[in-house]
Amino acid sequence: MQLQPKLIALQLLHLRNPALGEGLEEEMERDPRVCVMGEDVGHYGGSYKVTKGLATKFGDLRVLDTPIAENSFTGMGIGAAMTGLRPVVEGMNMGFLLLAFNQISNNCGMLHYTSGGQFTIPIVIRGPGGVGRQLGAEHSQRLESYFQSIPGIQMVACSTPYNAKGLMKAAIRSENPVILFEHVLLYNLKERIPDEDYICNLEEAELVRPGEDITILTYSRMRYHVMQAAKTLVNKGYDPEVIDIRSLKPFDLYTIGNSVKKTHRVLIVEECMRTGGIGASLTAAITENFHDYLDAPVMCLSSQDVPTPYAGTLEEWTVVQPAQIVTAVEQLCQ
């Protein structure tokens, strides 16, 4: 869908991203120790407008515009978390957090353990990632695959305004360090969400569409490609069960397992690279735990192991498209 450039500009300038921003604002009102740190989060309102309006309301110290020094300001967030604050660190693009890997791995993940439990790190690290529209290789990265092995962190990926707000709030309230993966192309979604206070469970997966024939596990933007494929599949007579796993680490093996026990077939659709992605770990976990229930090998559709090209056509071919999902389901269900 091609939006007119003018319309996009209007959206970016005037609309704050409501669900994520609301979740953040409510938590900041609820607990004065919650603060935000990142590049352009304050006066600029965030590069995707998630934090728009917060600096005016809460001040420049609570919504801190940092210099461009990811490793150091992430470490600063960790030090602040150790000493009593509850920072939300924004990576302007998740890819930039590669520069903060030292702090995220060594201090964020490990410090609670190496200190013998003396210090907690209730930090939330969040930002937009994933493949956008011709943003080029470096702005199109999926860091969930790189971070997943770090012991001591939790990772969640939001995909709808409802779960975005719920997961944001849950992540802020959690005593564990949580990395919240947002997606560049999902910021403009609209959905009615409840007025009253709610959170989404960080460790639970979300049943998107119940079904009998096959379990399709997905997360983030691929959920929409899966649902698009599901329309086609239903027309062709299939009944797919779609689960948005949401919790990338740890996996909700109960929801996933129950589904596998019902359908006996699993297709994983993800945006991570083929090698070492979330899908790879999920395949291993399912095979290990539910092998007896499978009628076919677990199939995993991932992005190609290619640096995301700039050209639109090439970019399209690196990411899983609905047609491929349909073909895969047909194959698995033979």
């Binding site: 609670h112 190496t114 740890p250």
Partner: protein, 431 residues
Amino acid sequence: MSTAFSAAKFTSPPFPLRSHDKPLFDPLKIPNATSPFLGSTRKIRRSSSTKLNLHRRSGTVVAVSDVVKEKKSKSTSSLLITKEEGLELYEDMVLGRAFEDMCAQMYYRGKMFGFVHLYNGQEAVSTGFIKLLKQQDSVVSTYRDHVHALSKGVPARAVMSELFGKTTGCCRGQGGSMHMFSSEHNLLGGFAFIGEGIPVATGAAFTSKYKREVLKEADCDHVTLAFFGDGTCNNGQFFECLNMAALWKLPIVFVVENNLWAIGMSHLRATSDPQIYKKGPAFGMPGIHVDGMDVLKVREVAKEAIARARRGEGPTLVECETYRFRGHSLADPDELRDPAEKAHYAARDPITALKKYLIENSLASEAELKAIDKKIDEVVEDAVEFADESPLPSRSQLLENVFADPKGFGIGPDGRYRCEDPKFTEGTAHV
């Protein structure tokens, strides 16, 4: 090259602040250079041994702050410390030295393993700074952290047990030599990678400012000290944090323990401009160079730097010229350093110097100091005994402390949270 630098480090008159267009030393004008290769340690050794001057340098304080200069001139006419303070400083330094010596013994007897980095020789910096802090102030250190922990108040027993890997260690045996933490004493680590503690320290200082300005805890004036070495001063995190701390006027003091060596890499071979204190003003904070072998000089500088931070005026960069008497770690054969250089600094042993000061100024008698020596020996031996007798961690400790909220291990196939599995507390659960 070495000639000009030796003049800066070892002779009495303070070197002049040079103009920006003249380099301090011309690396191409190496005397007796047989190869164009810059910074051969052999050349440094040869030239420095001829230039060595055994006079103790007057604590050349090149500071931007006028207040420090004022204080310095005042202090030369009267004693810098009281008897009580003197004995406290002496005891703390002796504890540091005796503890580290015991660590070496225990290591070679197979009681502790891995990488152990000892602090011998640098005691003046730890004692000079940390003894001025309150309990709520924070200290962030590096892998050379045993003595910082002791100075901050972590009991010798807890540190020794941690080194032995016992459950009674300050980190339950989970951290080890390079990861000393104490929430009670606000010791925020213990970090193995150089530079990675500096942002953490900056964060602790940020919290202090946040508490005062956002949470309106008006009397919150906690200060954070970040200790790190000369090698770290070429690392990005150092510069990034100098910038942020100065930008937001955070209550932090950056303490550089310049012992001239990063394992086998001489500071002069690694650093384009080796005068680290000069990098402070580049970021908008005072940069001070002090004789780190003299606890009283360190203490004077520390007093002002800490007070400055408490007043809300922002950070200070303090470069302490110091030296480690032992190798980088117990695994380091320490073959590169010139014996003459080692001898020069051994003659400036901070403990000997303080002892001399106390006796010459009639602040303490030999007998009193010997009594302290004996007391510390007993403390250290008791620490070893305690550590020896303490239990090793049991299997059940394996999975504890990975998450503050163990729900983070997730939901198992049976629908229950994994941490509810009884095998979880046994440490045998599959996660």
